[in-house]
Symmetry: C2
Subunit: 563 residues, 2 copies
């Protein structure tokens, strides 16, 4: 393993030498306290942050294994570097759930990777562990009240704060705790979620500085007392310890791609119940020191993309100069109806062979996603993440649709096979397109709009629904959310990633349906209100052939079988 | 915060420069692969390992807050350094349970500390998190079988493998998981323990190299199939991934004391259900490079001390040249009957004032612990960890009893108040005493003795019992343990730390009682058989005023309230 000189990479990003710390081979952390604190004026006017080229990589509605957004982000960042632009790629840290489950790691693939892959995929510098500890300390503090005469008079049935673990562990979805008698507290039903779905993780990814981090943690609502008054982490006296647990987790991680491009890997919020983007502080570090920053948003442009614009951008104080929308012929064939895909099942082989008519039909999805991003006022370049089986005819169809729908261009890439070489054409188009937009974002809704109006706006303009319906439960939860101050918060839609709609079976560009809101929850610490369409699984299960079976450690200490 | 030059410390221990890695400010890890692997002959004959001075710090039966073993280990190591002996102190990593609960951190105290304290007490380099992940991955793999037609035909009622979390979380002691229908697996009762009680942690602390680590992990028994055949981590195909998760956790952590003495902080097995000593690999690194190594065993000499001799030493291949037995006047007053102490309750104030008669009576405990250590053939020096309220008369009484019971000497120390200065006299006596013993250990029992004989030997010679009684359950479990190959394993007694006996109320030197064995369990991965006397709590609860309430993070990023 060649170890990149991370110290020079940090230096090239303007990080003072005493603010970069190695955290083991191949990784380090950047203590961001050399940046001006937000209260001292870091804002869109900050010349360095606002003058850097900022590229958002997002995607069309994906197949279960994804269309290669991370690989494209990495390949594009390496290509931009080759073209002379000092570029950083910023991505989320992978959860160990998928690493040991179906999907495998999150370090890119082929010749567009972040190295060492096993370091990235397992632990990294322990940020997710720190989030888990802070999250679970709060959970333990809640239940501890019941063992000590419950001075806050917490209503045990009001508690809606799970515990977390950074693994796929199906039977923890629904549990009864506190069994075994008085010494073990009160029995109650609760849940375990995967750590990256934690509100604490969303907070880590959105916090601007330590004050903001502590403030958001203190505002986490865990339930209510018997009078219905909300109970927060601050009420339990645990917010300070939670912040202390996150002290270094707040420092963005620095790694390098296989071609030596700096990679900031930080934060890993879910892209459904949370906002699905890497950290604000990581992007600030990157924008403050690089000429160009390539960042990635989770799932399709309808999920992580929309949330990038409506949740992350307002805190960051700027938007991207250009969005890259990753598409594959395979996914377009699927949207065109050639075959169905199901999460947890292998992708049908027929989707691997060219089928121009399906691609043509499937481009409805691509067009809608392009139009959605364009509605934020940001130009779009389509990256056709090519596979050896694709046909030129398919690529031509994709390009025609893309440009017709308002994309600046659509470029075939082969960075998986060729590294930066395979993304040079894309990089040139991205640079040219980015010149013509200053990074401003036209918001989809105004903060002062009602929550109902915000939801209607998102589902009608972006998802193609004719309206939103609200279940009784959702209406009741809406009242609670408003009482917690959610009215002025941005909306975070929790829905399937497998469709623009709420229904994974609706492919392409579904129209005219009713979008069913099933529940609403204000995350008062993270500062957004999550609006659910159906059950969103926050604890994945392991498949029948889990990826962990392939992983091994050789006697000389080399990790094997990691993808 | 002054950052010690850890690179020089590593160099002074003979660690090649490419084998030392920083893991954040104030800490690093030593990749031990520069040492000869055990299969290539690292053994007691290895000249460096066997020629270093090796000091075991253990204690009398403690009060609930401990008698200052860690502080003494640190102070003594700094004093030995001042006397010109290149010394390393090796201790266990503190669990976050006590840090946020009652006891506070495990970084020493006063002027004998390891710095930075918040780094040591929270996360360190994530080893306990890695152990938790590896442990819980195996747990998830077990339950996953039931969701996929159970090809191994595991009997769900046979599973005796808990999940873990590194926090005090009382209601997780007894839980029902798998509720909510078929998609969530099968409902069953199970437990959560604190991470440091995990068999995986014991394995990390005992493994000699990666082969040994992987081999032990693969042998963890989690239950049985419907025919009664044991099911192991290897059967589930998860041992390789577990080893990969522990790849860097296996590297000993290097920090420094407040006076710059190198400190290796590695492994944190419980001292009741596990063996309670820092890692074998950490002590090998230390012994290979230093002139003197001071290590600490958990709880009293009857627990961590005995297990050091009977479990850790045989793997390490050598014993100590001298044992330091830490005693306080306060604890001796308690053993003498002046007042009772209870875990989780404040220590009665009366124990803070001199009371020579109680000390005189309480010395029965000290004498027994001295005799116990002497029975291993190792000389003993008593460290009287002084407090300002103690009287000279009390110290004289302690010294008289100590020497009469076979200790080489008893020395009053004030390292808490004075740092190394306060332990210089102790250090001189330790050096002098150590000269006369070569580090050989006379085992308490032979490996080929029956398990029953091993237990009888421990409880009659060390604990003062007249015999052991075996419950029906214990007899049944003994049969199972023997079927798992436990007959030739060393015994690990799980009992209260608050008495030499099984009963926390029996202070001083209890005699002539019956030691009740309530259960037996073979930890086939760790390689010892745990013999229980009563319920041993593996998941502590939080107190009514948890230590976490005092902890905070300042806006400039400084941890406050950590002790």
């Amino acid at each position: 393993m060649t170890l990149i000189d991370l110290e020079s990479l940090a230096r090239s990003l303007g990080v003072p030498s005493d603010r970069f710390h190695r955290f083991g081979p191949g990784r380090g952390k950047i203590d961001p306290r050399y940046l001006p604190s937000p209260s001292l004026g870091l804002s869109p006017d900050d010349s360095k942050v606002s003058s850097a080229l900022y590229v958002l990589v997002t995607g069309m509605t994906p197949t279960p294994l994804g269309e290669g957004k991370t690989t494209t982000s990495i390949g594009l960042s390496m290509a931009l570097n080759r073209l002379g632009l000092r570029t950083v790629v910023t991505i989320r840290q992978p959860s160990m759930g998928p690493v040991f489950g179906i999907k495998g790691g999150g370090a890119g693939g082929g010749r567009s990777t972040i190295e060492p892959m096993d370091v990235l995929n397992l632990h990294l510098t322990g940020d997710i562990h720190a989030v888990s500890s802070a999250h679970n300390l709060l959970a333990s503090a809640i239940d501890n009240e019941f063992s000590h005469s419950n001075p806050l008079r917490i209503d045990p049935l009001s508690i809606n704060y799970p515990r977390v673990v950074d693994l796929n562990d199906r039977p923890l979805r629904k549990v009864v705790i506190g069994l075994g008698g008085r010494a073990n507290g009160i029995p109650r039903e609760t849940e375990f979620s995967i750590a990256v779905s934690s509100e604490v993780m969303a907070i880590l990814a959105l916090a601007k500085d330590y004050s903001d981090l502590s403030g958001r943690l203190s505002k986490i609502t865990v339930g209510a007392n018997v009078d219905g008054t909300p109970v927060t982490a601050r009420d339990l006296g645990v917010d300070g310890a939670m912040a202390a647990l996150l002290r270094e987790a707040f420092w963005p991680n620095l790694m390098a791609t296989c071609e030596g491009t700096p990679a900031i890997v930080h934060g890993s919020p879910f892209a459904n119940i949370a906002h699905g983007n890497s950290s604000v502080i990581g992007d600030w570090v990157a924008l403050s020191g690089a000429q160009c920053v390539v960042t990635e948003a989770g799932f399709g442009a309808d999920l992580g993309g929309e949330k990038f614009f409506d949740i992350k951008s307002p805190i960051l104080g700027r938007g991207p100069n250009v969005a890259v929308l990753v598409a594959t012929a395979k996914s377009l064939r699927m949207h065109g109806g050639l075959a169905e895909t199901t999460a947890g099942k292998p992708i049908p082989e027929i989707l691997d062979s060219p089928h121009p008519e399906s691609v043509d039909r499937g481009c409805a999805n691509l067009r809608r996603q392009i139009e959605n991003i364009r509605s934020f006022g940001v130009p779009v370049v389509v990256a056709i993440n090519s596979h050896p089986q694709d046909s030129q005819e398919e690529w031509d169809i994709i390009r025609r649709h893309a440009i017709d729908a308002g994309a600046s261009d659509a470029v075939v890439c082969s960075h998986f096979r060729d590294g930066s070489e395979g993304a040079l054409a894309l990089a040139r188009v991205v640079m040219e397109t980015a010149k013509h937009h200053n990074g401003q974002v036209t918001p989809l809704y105004r903060r002062e709009d009602s929550l109902e109006d915000k939801v209607t706006r998102i589902v009608t303009t972006m998802y193609g629904a004719k309206m939103a319906s609200w279940s009784d439960r959702a209406r009741k939860s809406l009242v609670v959310a408003k009482s917690l101050g959610a009215e002025t918060m941005p909306v975070c839609i929790a829905k399937t990633w497998a469709s623009l709609s709420h229904d994974p079976a609706l492919k392409g560009d579904p129209r005219g349906y009713v979008f069913p809101v099933t529940d609403v929850r204000a995350f008062t610490g993270a500062g957004f209100v999550t609006v659910y369409a159906g059950d969103v699984q926050t604890m994945p299960g392991l498949p029948s052939r889990p990826a962990f079976r392939k992983i091994d450690l050789s006697p000389d200490g080399i990790t094997r079988g990691m993808t």
